[in-house]
């Protein structure tokens, strides 16, 4: 309530110095908006324009209508990339969504070394992703000298094929992504968990609820709200996966890990076909817009509820 009244007060004042205030307001924002225009919005629009043209190097040659789009859809690697991108997203829902929750809940239940745990699980986050990909690629080497195979070998197991098994490639890449990012999500969940009122637990205990029941009925519901937001952000970022499969297996084995964005990079920088690259990224953007729309709607509903 207080916020509202003060806002009204502000508006009244605002009317007195109407023009000057607005002018300064925009003046302050314009440099940043120009940057946004240059780095985010204009390229987006430029992409749409380029997608309708044929190009030589980066020079626009002629208007070709939907030809680039049909070239993309009929591209020999498109279907594989399309399916894989959804596979990445699905796997990241399965693995990437629950792991941070579990980490968050578990660390919340510790009292000793809590700060250390928090720091350690967050550590992969600050490591540069390129370095981690290189490191993981040596972990996944299939021979006996691969790091994971050295470890499993100590347990008396035969060397695994890891990324070379086409059924494992995508899930394993998602595991490395999760390893990298789970910590930061877990910290957000932990912050949420610690803001749960202790009264709730006490009441539940008095009602005879065991530990697991309390987790299920109190802790998890309370972090599901923020979880939904994290989920959509995660989907959007995983949908754009590009350099991980590029460095790990160059999209292989036999296209088992190629992604849409990686295909776009190839069109743009290997085949010199900017128009085709633009067409593909417009398609990806359209999918992302739909996903974002769903997100906006979901959060709007949440606010109403």
């Amino acid at each position: 309530m207080t916020v509202k009244t003060s806002k009204k007060l502000g508006e009244k004042k605002a009317k007195e110095t109407f023009r000057k205030r607005d002018f300064y307001g925009w003046l302050i924002m314009v440099p940043s908006l120009v940057l946004f225009a240059f780095f985010v919005w204009e390229p987006l629009i430029e992409n749409i324009r380029l997608s309708f043209f044929s190009t030589k190097m980066y020079e626009v040659v002629e208007f070709t209508g939907l030809k680039n789009y049909s070239a993309v859809i009929h591209d020999i690697d498109f279907m594989a990339a399309f399916k894989n991108t959804f596979a990445y997203t699905l796997w990241s829902l399965l693995i990437g969504f629950f792991v941070p929750m579990i980490i968050g809940v578990l660390i919340s239940e510790t009292i000793h070394f809590k700060g250390f745990f928090r720091m350690a699980v967050y550590f992969p986050n600050i490591m540069p992703s390129l370095a981690t990909i290189w490191i993981w690629s040596y972990f996944f080497l299939p021979g006996p000298t691969g790091v994971l195979n050295i470890l499993t070998g100590k347990l008396g197991m035969e060397p695994f094929e890891w990324l070379n098994n086409p059924h494992w490639t995508i899930p394993l890449i998602i595991i490395t992504l999760t390893w990298k990012s789970a910590g930061s999500t877990a910290l957000i969940y932990m912050a949420n968990i610690s803001s749960i009122s202790p009264d709730l637990y006490e009441a539940a205990t008095i009602d005879g609820a065991g530990i697991w029941q309390r987790v299920r009925h109190i802790t998890l519901p309370s972090i599901f709200g923020i979880g939904k937001t994290m989920l959509i952000l995660q989907i959007i970022s995983v949908f754009q996966i590009m350099y991980e499969p590029m460095i790990f297996k160059n999209g292989g084995p036999n296209n088992a890990s190629i992604s849409l964005m990686m295909l776009m990079y190839r069109y743009g920088y290997r085949d010199y076909n900017v128009g085709k690259a633009a067409a593909l990224s417009v398609l990806v953007c359209m999918i992302l817009v739909v996903l974002s729309g769903i997100y906006m709607k979901a959060t709007a509903q949440k606010e109403e509820a």
Binding site: W41, E42, K56, L141, N254, G268, R270
Partner: protein, 504 residues
């Protein structure tokens, strides 16, 4: 809805003003040097933003009276960072350049050509003045206007006629303009790690390795090596296009022709012929029946293959005479423990893939820069002239090879100038540091008619398709080779139709 429209307009408007503000730069940086007065002012303001120490190719400066103009060239042919001693040799070349052409400043900019990285470099104007590439590339690069026409510069120097005619044709467009010059030729052979052959007892009474003469024998030899030493018999590549590149040589031995150029200038893919499938079946058997490959062919590329060979993880690897520094200098194999033998024969005969490394020049390079880069080649001894400086360059290179434990062996001639060939032969004679017998069979096989140029058509795309099949058969025991090859054939034909065949 209305709100969205307004925001869209606002955004475009802002973008438009932004672009207009910098508009001057945008038009003229793309122009070539023909219009010097305007470019000059603009390059001046780009070099304000970029500290001048780059030097690189900002120097689109007036090129008319080139001779004594200050020229800066960036050398993509500089050695890779870890090859400290090779860099020292090149620093020597730079010093010689300083004496002969004091107006030229040389900036090292090591660049290893790859299809994924070349375009961004050209677009950002970071392409080195001179760089090495592959013989599969000129058609595409010329069509895109990504490299410079150097016909006039070569003509002025009289180098055009010194070039091997078939190579010249490869590096020219349909109007006979020339876009590159060859560094050297190579022919694929089978590199052997002699240490492992000795360990496995696969040597004759004189201690020379008993190399396999056919692909059947190779499988058996590899098996023996794996049993006796634990190392892999053969390192096969399946990470990137190099996999398809090596495979095409195997396929020829099985009698396959992978792509045919028709009379009307179109290309027909032929990846699913019986012979090609047989070759792929053979590769598959190396993994699943003989089990003689390195642990992960899918992580092996051109460079790691030499690591496997040089560090004793694999006894055999398909490699060429121009890469003998890789197993030895880079990966530590003693100089006398490397041998190259001919690529094994198959039911279809014995072939060695013959190709070469061309030098290309940045599309932004001025005639003065191109000339300076050609001068540098002369100093390196890679030009068709046997001047004093050039021979000195060859000697410095050979001496460095001796010091670094790199075999000094013959090159494949890419120039027809007799004095150059003589000079090269004399140097191999003088600096030879290995037993020629380890290479005799290879040079013999590659001097006869077993040489086979790379397939025509969109060759790198064909390699990419073949690599996918390799990846599938090397990771899946139950892979159906026939259907995979049919799929690859279909894909490759689609690419050919969309690019080369459609363009006609």
């Amino acid at each position: 809805m209305k709100k969205k429209l307004v925001s869209l307009i606002l955004c475009t408007a802002m973008a438009a003003t932004l672009l207009a503000g910098c508009g001057n730069g945008s038009t003229s940086t793309n122009e070539t040097t023909s219009n010097n007065t305007t470019t000059e002012s603009n390059t001046a303001d780009t070099s304000d933003t970029a500290p001048a120490d780059t030097g690189s190719d900002d120097t689109d400066a007036p090129a008319a009276d080139a001779q004594d103009e200050e020229v800066t060239i960036t050398l993509g042919i500089w050695p890779e960072d870890t090859l400290v001693d090779d860099i020292a040799v090149h620093e020597g070349y730079v010093a010689t350049m300083g004496e002969l052409h004091p107006n030229v400043t040389c900036v090292p900019a090591y660049y290893k050509y790859s299809t994924d990285t070349f375009m961004p470099m050209v677009e950002s104007g970071n392409c080195p003045t001179i760089f090495e590439s592959w013989f599969t590339e000129p058609t595409k690069l010329i069509a895109q206007g990504a490299i410079a026409d150097i016909t006039d510069e070569l003509k002025a120097r009289g180098w055009l006629d010194a070039m091997n005619p078939s190579i010249k044709e490869l590096l020219s467009d349909s109007n006979g303009r020339v876009y590159g010059i060859p560094r050297d030729g190579y022919a694929l052979g089978l590199m052997l790690n002699v240490e492992l052959f000795e360990e496995a007892g696969l040597v004759d009474e004189d201690g020379y390795p008993l190399y396999p003469k056919t692909w059947e024998e190779l499988a058996e030899t590899a098996k023996t090596i794996k049993e006796k030493t634990g190392a892999a018999g053969l390192c096969l590549l399946a990470k990137d296009n190099a996999g398809g590149w090596h495979f095409s040589n195997i396929a020829w031995a099985f009698g396959a022709t992978l792509c045919t150029e028709n009379a009307d200038g179109t290309f027909t893919s032929n990846l699913d012929s019986e012979e090609a499938i047989a070759a792929m079946e053979y590769v598959k058997s190396l993994k699943w029946d003989y089990d003689v490959l390195t642990a992960d062919p899918l992580s092996e590329d051109w460079g790691t293959g030499f690591t496997q060979l040089g560090t004793g993880n694999a006894a055999m690897y398909i490699g060429a005479n121009d890469a003998v520094n890789q197993p030895t200098q880079v990966n530590g194999l003693p100089v006398d423990k490397l041998s190259i033998c001919p690529i094994p024969a198959g039911p279809g005969g014995q072939y060695s893939l013959y190709g070469g490394t061309p030098y290309f020049f940045s599309k932004d390079a001025t005639p003065a820069q191109i000339n300076a880069a050609l001068d540098y080649l002369e100093v390196m001894g890679k030009a068709p002239v046997a001047t004093e400086a050039s021979v000195e360059g060859m000697k410095a290179d050979a001496q460095n090879k001796v010091d670094q434990g790199v075999p000094v062996i013959k090159r494949f001639p890419c120039w027809v100038a007799q004095d150059v060939l003589d000079a090269e032969a004399a140097i191999v004679e003088e600096y030879g540091n290995v037993d020629p017998k380890l290479y005799d069979a290879y040079f013999e096989a590659t001097s006869s008619d077993g040489l086979h140029l790379e397939e025509p058509g969109s060759t790198q795309d064909m390699y990419a398709e073949l690599t996918k099949v390799l990846q599938a058969v090397l990771t899946d025991k139950n892979a159906d080779v026939t259907s995979l090859m049919q799929q690859a054939d279909e894909n490759y034909q689609t690419i050919l139709d969309a690019t080369l065949n459609g363009a006609e």
